[in-house]
């Protein structure tokens, strides 16, 4: 085994997963100032969607392809439901959204436990993802490459949506100046809802990718949510570029630390790294400059 390629490639795959999870967070945080702690449970919902899809479409080769859009819709609708019922009452109270969604996350976890049982369920890997290629002694699994491809595609789709579509322009207008956007006729509430749908839907896609790593279990979301948030913190809010760099940096750094020390110490070291990084760049990698007294 090469002590360089293994952590690098494995870490890139972890980073890709973090990226999918963090993209949705960065989007909703950047636009609405909403910190959604239930985002991890949307990831979990995506994983369970993959499991349920396999019960219906029993061919694992096809079911995973069906599961991706299905998980996007399921998690997206959960997000929309959350937005309409809870978040909509608490704009401009970002810290409170954080706490409310903590509660929502607890309820969703318990629901999953009651519906699917506390014991996890298996998600079969499609045969076309079964296998690996040898890269300098590391048997790089196709599944990890698939995760990276998935993240890159999600990123490109999101970037294109924001940059080229009319809706993307509305989102950017709302992010930059909500009041002004309203005066030019953008229905910012509707924009918010669609943004929340998309952001949560991305978590669903991430959930499908996670289900290929660990199947499903009710606590699946909690494993990823903190790292995903650290990515958003380090990446700077509302900036895709920063989120991308931070996701891969955190993923790869964790893998290297795990290789050098232990997986437990890697968690500690990555956290320390983010705190030190914030000393150098307190507002994250990239900052949207806004003038005046906040």
């Amino acid at each position: 085994m090469d002590s360089f390629t293994t952590p690098l490639l494995a870490g890139t795959a972890t980073g890709a997963l973090l990226l999918i999870a963090a993209l949705g967070l960065a989007l909703t945080f950047g636009q609405m100032g909403v910190i959604n702690m239930a985002h991890g449970e949307f990831l979990m919902a995506g994983a369970y969607t993959a499991f349920v899809t396999q019960q219906i479409v029993t061919n694992a080769d096809i079911s995973i392809v069906v599961a991706l859009p299905a998980a996007f819709v399921v998690a997206g609708l959960l997000g929309l439901l959350l937005e309409v019922t809870v978040i909509t009452w608490m704009y401009r109270r970002p810290l409170d959204t954080l706490l409310v969604t903590v509660g929502v996350g607890l309820v969703l976890q318990q629901l999953a436990k009651d519906i699917f049982g506390a014991q996890g369920d298996p998600v079969r890997t499609p045969t076309w993802l079964d296998g690996n290629i040898d890269v300098f002694g590391y048997h790089w699994p196709y599944r990890q490459m698939f995760t990276i491809v998935l993240a890159v595609m999600a990123l490109i789709a999101l970037a294109a949506l924001l940059k080229y579509s009319a809706f993307g322009r509305q989102i950017r207008a709302t992010v930059q100046n909500r009041d002004l956007a309203e005066t030019v006729g953008i229905r910012t509430r509707a924009v918010d809802r669609i943004t929340f749908f998309i952001g949560s839907g991305l978590a669903g896609i991430g959930g499908v990718a996670v289900s290929l790593i660990s199947g499903t279990n009710p606590r699946l979301g909690t494993t990823y949510i903190i790292s995903a948030f650290l990515v958003v913190v380090a990446g700077g809010l509302g900036q895709l570029k920063g989120t991308v760099i931070a996701a891969f940096a955190v993923g790869i750094a964790t893998s290297f630390f795990a290789d050098w020390t232990s997986a437990s110490m890697a968690q500690v070291a990555t956290f320390a790294l983010v705190v030190v990084f914030l000393q150098l760049r307190p507002q994250g990698l990239f900052v949207v400059r806004s003038r005046g007294l906040a």
Binding site: Q119, D121, D130, H139, S214, G215, A258, S264
Partner: protein, 413 residues
């Protein structure tokens, strides 16, 4: 610093607090003798406490134990109870939190006045309950295999200690001609202690340890660690991973091209309950226990049928469930042997009390309160059941401190 009236009021509050605190002054000389038992044995029912986590991370496993305890209690009641007294069981949630276990067992023993408590799963929960049950001179029946190195007058251990699970597993590996072994575990007490024993016994058996990796509890990503297994090419992997983390481990193991043909895994925490979560990925791998659903015995047939009638035909039975079921029957036999619910009476006549359990006949060792159990190795088949491929010749006497093994040096690294 304070204005006069303020000073006055604060002074009053502080003085009040101090006086009130001091009024409950401590007693430095007391030896803290055990509290008087409040168990009521005069009625026609006897209270027992079931303390398992029904919420939190461990609810996954502990609910199954609760179910088989419930079954055993119902069976015993239908059969006339214990010493003619009907079991009235008080249920509590340990919430997967050791401090809650300590609180709840205190409640069961001192408020509910139960005659004995059944439950606990993690070592942390047992360690948390131990001082409480000792201080109250109560009884605890603990149904899960654990890392040994413990014996309490107030606890009966109906799961395996290390010389009934880990050591037979190593004997099995030696009989298979294994020369190199890789250790993979969750980063907490049981795997660390188990691996300490494994390493010393491996040295004795001439098996080389070619790697040792740990991942935090509940962490799913095993990629980096599995890459090290690939690199080490061990004959066998000894798996002490706990809970859902197993799923990620097995997935990563397959992804990187490992299989039961090249580097098979022997696990000590994957049973009939856990295996289905890994589906086909786990087929062909091994596990060491003292009970499998596939054990052939009349007692087991009865147990499985009763359990599935009660909780659903799709429910598997597993080692900890069987150990919990057994623990309640053992308690019945203990009480009847002593003809008393009193803890000291029970302990006095405990040695040799036995029960025809689903796993076979088990017998209590009166010195260390563990039970003699047969070591079994199962291979997981496509139905996520275990085909028994190896068995110890006879029930193994429990030896929690491994005193009968010369190679064991507790202070060595």
């Amino acid at each position: 610093m304070f204005s006069p009236p303020t000073r006055h009021v604060i002074g009053t509050v502080v003085a009040l607090t101090a006086t009130l605190s001091l009024s409950a002054c401590g007693n430095k000389d007391g030896d803290g003798s055990a509290a008087e038992s409040c168990v009521d044995t005069s009625g026609d029912s006897i209270k027992l406490g079931f303390l398992n986590s029904t919420s939190g991370a461990m609810a996954i496993s502990e609910q199954t134990v609760r179910d088989s305890l419930t079954l055993a209690a119902e069976e015993i009641n239908a059969d006339g109870g214990i010493l003619g007294k009907e079991i009235e069981f008080v249920e509590e949630d340990g919430a997967s939190d050791p401090a809650v276990f300590a609180e709840k067992i205190d409640k069961l023993l001192t408020s509910d006045c139960v005659a004995a408590v059944f439950g606990g799963w993690t070592s942390a929960s047992r360690k948390a309950m131990l001082p409480v049950v000792e201080a109250n001179n109560g009884l605890l029946f603990y149904p899960v295999q654990y890392e040994g190195l413990e014996a309490s007058e107030n606890i009966y251990y109906t799961g395996a200690t290390t010389n009934q699970q880990i050591i037979p597993a190593m004997d099995f590996l030696a009989s298979e001609g294994v020369e190199t072994l890789f250790l993979a575990g969750s980063d907490y007490v049981f795997p660390r202690t188990a691996n300490k024993i494994i390493k010393q016994y491996a040295a004795e058996l001439g098996i080389e340890i070619v790697g040792e990796e740990y991942v935090p509890l509940d962490d799913d990503d095993w990629t980096t660690q599995v890459a090290k297994i690939v690199d080490a090419e061990p004959d066998f992997v000894f798996n002490t991973i706990n809970g859902s983390s197993n799923v990620g481990f097995i997935k990563a193991y397959y992804e990187q091209g490992l299989s039961p043909e090249t580097s098979p895994i022997i696990s000590v925490s994957i049973a009939e309950e856990e295996a289905p979560a890994m589906g086909k990925d786990v087929t062909g791998q091994y596990a060491a226990w003292n009970y499998f659903q596939s054990v052939q015995s009349p007692a087991n047939d009865v147990f499985i049928r009763a359990f599935q009638d009660r909780f659903g035909s799709d429910r598997p039975t597993s080692d900890p469930m069987e150990a919990a079921y057994t623990s309640l029957y053992l308690y019945k036999n203990l009480v009847e042997a002593a003809d008393s619910f009193d803890v000291d009476d029970i302990n006095e006549s405990a040695d040799g009390v036995s029960f025809d359990a689903p796993e076979g006949t088990v017998t209590i060792d009166g010195d260390n309160h563990h039970i003699a159990k047969t070591g079994l190795i199962g291979q997981i088949n496509a139905d996520n059941q275990f085909d028994i491929v190896w068995s110890s010749e006879e029930p193994i006497e429990p030896d929690p401190f491994l005193e009968g093994y010369d190679w064991w040096d507790p202070t060595a690294e």
